[in-house]
């Protein structure tokens, strides 16, 4: 019985990391503000997934607690940004 095979969880976390990098590209490219918010929302969900994976790998429950709080806080952030951009018309396309 050995518990060293747990590296496969790290592989999953690494794949999520690649997903975050790909989404970051969309965050920089835009072109409109809602596009950037979509990318941010995707990154937030992937970060929560990463936290769950890391919590299992290091056997630390604190990581998963951070994941829960991060999920709820990022939800509030998304709602707030959506509220903010819906109160003004999109004037120009671009950064």
């Amino acid at each position: 019985m050995s518990f060293e095979h747990l590296d496969i969880i790290l592989i999953g976390v690494a794949i999520l990391g690649v997903g975050i990098l790909v989404s970051l590209l969309r965050l920089f490219l835009g072109p409109t503000s809602p596009d950037r918010v979509v990318a941010l929302d995707t990154i937030n969900t992937l970060v929560v997934g990463m936290m769950i994976g890391l919590g299992a790998y290091y056997e630390e429950v604190v990581f998963i607690d951070i994941g829960i709080v991060y999920a709820i806080l990022s939800f509030v952030t998304t709602l707030f940004i959506a509220r903010f951009i819906s109160t003004r018309k999109e004037k120009e396309v671009g950064p």
């Binding site: 747990l6 999953g12 997903g19 769950i52 299992a56 998963i64 709602l79």
Partner: protein, 123 residues
């Protein structure tokens, strides 16, 4: 269930989760406008997170049964907290998607390649 079988189960769950999460990120670049990107991002990342969480819960249950009843409860806590994180994702993700879609429609971004648009302003 032996350790090998548990590992294979976890490996399959993690590969499914990784494939769908990555597809969501690629979908952000493949689709033309914000609404179709929301489709890709919301569904796939939620599904990926569910499978990653199930993998961690399977791992915790296996560790609980392996170590036996005299364990210190750390893995029960791990499984319970993972379940709560899963619930948080399941509830917040679609709601956030509505908020973004509504904000995008209110700023006047029309869906690209649309064949029908029955939207009207209501309050």
């Amino acid at each position: 269930m032996t350790w090998d079988w548990a590992m294979i189960t976890i490996l399959v769950l993690i590969i499914i989760s990784g494939i769908f999460s990555l597809l969501g990120a690629i979908g952000l670049h493949r689709f033309p406008d914000v609404y179709t990107r929301l489709h890709a991002a919301t569904k796939t990342t939620t599904f990926g997170s569910i499978f990653l969480a199930i993998a961690v819960i399977v791992y915790s249950i296996f560790r609980i049964t392996e170590v036996g009843p005299e364990n210190d409860g750390a893995f029960i806590t791990l499984a319970a907290h993972t379940f709560i994180a899963l619930l948080a994702i399941l509830i917040t993700n679609p709601t956030g998607a509505h908020a973004i879609a509504r904000a995008a429609r209110k700023t006047g971004i029309a869906p690209e390649q649309a064949v029908i648009d029955e939207y009207e302003e209501v309050d």
